[in-house]
């Protein structure tokens, strides 16, 4: 058999190169990022100077250096790491429970029209309810301990995961199912080779939203009803007017959100190599 070149004369190498170029570079900082960093540093320096010169109230805006020292202290005496650990545990457990149930129900609903017809109205009614509002109800059902906190976080993660998974399965082109069927694929193969990879980009978007939701709810639940965790730390710092501690816990919480999103983006790039335009 003759070996045929592509009529357009493009080489695989070149195509690979463009593929890599299309990817956002996560580690390399672009000049825009340097610029943004510069602004942040300038802001911090102005803040520090303002406090030292007595132009800014150190009660409301303790100097960045003080905040930094406090955070080192809090890490050394184990307070920050304990609170952080507890929050992380709640976030991950809630995310895991809610995410898995949302994923499984979402795949099933995407696949089965009748299930969708039954469950859709329930979802439409329950989804818009701000999840923190159901905390008291959950506490009646699950007690005031740890489990009701986890349940609220799980409920909040469940919805974005479910909704994105259903959308992900539904947007799979019908031809892909027909191809699988034509080659004799059974339900098992259709699930693993069509439904799961076909919906994966949407599922990952759902996971990202769900993880952010889990963090939001964990902090909210801790603000209103916990003695431990970053949310509780924020609340306690506020009540005792220890503003340095307030800032430390706020920055750590914000940092958590950034780290979560960063990792999910990296995971997405690895798991979805067939998509060039990143819709993240």
């Amino acid at each position: 058999m003759a070996h045929l070149e592509d009529p357009r004369g493009r080489s695989a190498k070149r195509l690979m190169d463009t593929r890599l170029k299309d990817r956002p570079h996560l580690f390399l900082f672009h000049s825009e990022k340097w610029f943004a960093m510069g602004i942040v540093i300038a802001g911090l320096m102005a803040w520090e100077g303002g406090v030292r010169l007595g132009k800014i109230s150190s009660l409301f805006f303790p100097a960045p250096s003080v905040i930094l020292l406090t955070s080192i202290q809090l890490i050394m005496n184990g307070k920050l790491t304990t609170h952080l650990g507890i929050t992380l545990w709640r976030v991950f457990l809630g995310f895991f429970l809610g995410g898995i149930s949302g994923l499984i129900l979402g795949l099933a609903m995407g696949w089965s029209r009748s299930l969708r017809m039954i469950v859709d109205p329930l979802i439409a009614a329950a989804h818009p309810v701000p999840k923190i509002a159901i905390l008291p109800l959950i506490m009646i059902l699950f007690g005031i301990g740890e489990s009701s906190k986890i349940v609220v976080i799980a409920v909040a993660t469940f919805f974005p995961m479910l909704i994105n998974t259903v959308a992900g399965v539904r947007q799979i082109h019908p031809i892909h199912f027909e191809v699988a069927q034509n080659y004799g694929a059974g339900l098992n193969k259709i699930l693993t080779r069509v439904i799961v990879p076909g919906s994966l980009p949407f599922v990952l978007t759902g996971a990202r939203l769900a993880l952010n939701m889990a963090l939001l709810l964990a902090i909210a639940v801790e603000l209103v009803s916990a003695q431990e965790g970053l949310g509780a730390m924020i609340w306690l710092a506020w009540q005792t007017l220890r503003t340095e501690e307030l800032y430390v816990s706020l920055f750590v919480t914000a940092g958590l959100g950034v780290v979560f999103n960063f990792f999910l983006q990296r995971i997405t790039l690895h798991l979805v190599p067939w998509q060039t335009e990143q819709r993240i």
């Binding site: 493009r10 195509l15 690979m16 069927q181 034509n182 080659y183 990879p197 994966l200 067939w274 998509q275």
Partner: protein, 262 residues
């Protein structure tokens, strides 16, 4: 090399129920194939060509009528491989995995199926692309992957739905020759839907001309040219005459469509 399989369609009826009533897609479609034939199907848009292929592939069920494969009415699985016009490849699989899909379904182990797939990828001239994803290929290259996937499946009947519909004329000629070569090597029965009448005449042993609303087979035309057919065939007076003949059938059809109210 696949076993030869003969296909006979007997009085196939297919209607779709929609909110706006029933659409009769196919009415009393009857034909039988000859040995290892290259059969082209032409007809106006909406006359039921895709529906016919899907029925033969077993993706749809006829309302009545029978499809007989080599003398027996039975399940269609693994007797047909369908090549779609677009979106036929899985975007989440590399070229190699796409080509090997039929083998994967048959439970052939990864190493073996990748080796076999590699030879087929080579046959369609894409060996340096086996680890690329479909979106990294041109439209024509993707169709070659689809064709490789269909040939490797070793189904005796290949169903192709306007596979080169959206490809420029030059690339199309090249792909047609490639397809004919594969067909010769692998001894399959090919049912090839196209709206390009010249393409049908160049490729086919026989052409089914369909008319629409409802879809029926209007005429079966045997193409007398010997193979391989070359540029001179494309220029010959006979070819022009056959093309003209088909055009007349379809022209009547188009006019009927315009003049007869539903």
């Amino acid at each position: 090399m696949s076993l030869f399989m003969e296909l006979s369609c007997q009085h196939i009826h297919k209607a779709f129920q929609t909110q706006n009533g029933t659409i009769i897609a196919l009415e009393d479609v009857t034909f039988r194939t000859k040995e290892k034939e290259f059969l082209c199907i032409v007809g106006p848009s909406g006359c039921g060509k895709t529906t016919l292929l899907k029925l033969i592939a077993g993706l749809l069920k006829p309302n009545s009528g029978e499809m007989i494969f080599h003398g027996e009415v039975s399940d269609h699985r693994s007797r047909t491989a369908l090549v779609f016009q677009e979106h036929g490849l899985f975007p989440w699989m590399t070229v190699l995995d796409n080509v090997a899909f039929g083998l994967e379904i048959r439970g052939i182990r990864k190493k073996e199926r990748h080796e076999l797939a590699q030879t087929f990828v080579q046959k369609v001239g894409l060996s340096s692309f086996s680890h690329n994803y479909p979106h990294e290929l041109s439209v024509g290259m993707r169709q070659r992957v689809g064709i490789a996937r269909a040939f490797i499946a070793d189904a005796p009947i290949l169903l192709m739905d306007e596979p080169f519909g959206s490809i420029d004329a030059q690339t199309k000629r090249f792909l047609q020759e490639e397809l004919l070569r594969l067909w010769k090597d692998h001894q399959k029965l090919i049912l090839y839907v196209t709206h390009d009448i010249e393409e049908a005449v160049i490729l086919a042993d026989r052409i089914l001309v369909m008319t629409g609303h409802p879809g029926r087979i209007r005429e079966q035309i045997s193409i007398p040219f010997s193979r391989p057919r070359d540029l001179y065939t494309r220029k010959s007076a006979d070819l022009t005459e056959i093309k003209w003949h088909i055009w007349k059938i379809l022209e009547d059809e188009v006019q009927k469509g315009l003049w007869i109210p539903d």
